[in-house]
Subunit: 257 residues, 2 copies
Amino acid sequence: MIQRRLDRTGGQPLWKQLQQDLVRRLRSGEFDDTFPGELALVEDYQVSRHTVRQALGKLRADGLIVAERGRQPRVATTPEIRQPMGALYSLFSSVEASGLTQHSIVRALDIRADGVIASRLDLEASSPLLYLERLRFAGDEPLALDRVWLPASLAEPLLDADFTHTSLYNELATRIGVRLDHGREDIRAVVPTPAERAVLRCPPEAAAFSINRQGTSQSRPVEWRHTLVRGDRFALSAEFSENLGYRLTPAAVQHQA
Amino acid sequence: MIQRRLDRTGGQPLWKQLQQDLVRRLRSGEFDDTFPGELALVEDYQVSRHTVRQALGKLRADGLIVAERGRQPRVATTPEIRQPMGALYSLFSSVEASGLTQHSIVRALDIRADGVIASRLDLEASSPLLYLERLRFAGDEPLALDRVWLPASLAEPLLDADFTHTSLYNELATRIGVRLDHGREDIRAVVPTPAERAVLRCPPEAAAFSINRQGTSQSRPVEWRHTLVRGDRFALSAEFSENLGYRLTPAAVQHQA
DNA sequence: CCGCTGAAAATGTACGCACATTTAAGCTAG
DNA sequence: CTAGCTTAAATGTGCGTACATTTTCAGCGG
């Protein structure tokens, strides 16, 4: 094993550097099979076991690894169940879990200006925005009508992207290197308008979720989104406890209306 | 300072005993002015500073105390604002925050049996249940129709409680000593039936949230609840980030329809 | 009386050691 | 070849030490 070096000039605590380096290596998949033991890390990084345990303790507190007596630490199953995206993510992962395939019809993808939306993104009213409107399907049935506005200065490279099968966040991450780390959303129960009902092919007596959402990346507003989700087949599901707080979980999806 | 004793027979780790004792003393209000320093605890409990730090580290991770270099630890302000209750709690606290007063009309409070609900509470189908049905108001307008079932074996003392102004959880905590620590809920968007619409005084074109929820206390199912919330004036609001996960926040309430 | 300085105190970091307890692996006997 | 035992290895607990860094406070001088 290669001896790894840490910065001992006192800029950052050794255990913190070690923790960060382990997180990095862990995310790279290096430890998918086996996680190194404490003594191995002592050897590799040339620090005391005390320091190693301090770093591992933090990783354990974050739920990245699990450790037991006499047994080597292992990478926690479902490493990072971080709820990345909120209610929408929960809904779409519910569909995924139910075995239905998802795809979208792109109804619009262009650059336009909208003063109201721009102000919600902390932009000048005249700022150009990339606008993406999709009708999202779960299986053969429409699931949601999704409209997103992003600053064109940031998102213009996505103009030629194909959004019929890939997610916006995927494209944002891979092509622009922007990852949402914070957001806010409002969820309302509404009755869709006749026009919306026609697009979503809802039965006449169905309600819907209306979700407004602002996503930010490093404190900068990156997206404003409005999604209308059919309420007759999809539900939000959540679990909460003292330790874990409030967590959205994949819900059951009714295949047939 | 009195020397305090810990059990050194190996039943439980010293740091855990210390942690639990400190939590106990902390909750009793003993440390409201000043929290003892590490060295003081070393003296009091006759353990090493390492052990004391291990216990304090846990308290700090739980957010009970805050510590800084060179400064004595202090009891954390707002000790535990844990999101206790999920979507419903969020909705009702939104109303509270908007300045509207809340009260309820108790439509039913009795003991009855319901096989379906009982099975959801992991009880025999014939088990008696305490049933509470309330119409909850925000200001002068109905907000939600709330129906709760609890095991009668547990909740029977609540039969003579007055639920027009106090919350169920309050009564559960003070009169029975049960506090919910875990729960699961489904949130659906629905169109209320004409009967429901009449009770809630909804406009004809309004949708509603239908929330089903099971609450547990120490792994034992304690309540099953169904709440129908008017969707024309109330929304769910949430914030999410990498650090804090998904947190429901009080939303704005529209006073006028 | 105010402000500055320096000492004392407190926590943070880092090292070392020893032993307990549990798991995993290897080895032996049947 | 398998079952059971023994041994090695790994983590958990607990103690000690030393020094760094920061805050607090007392004392001193202006």
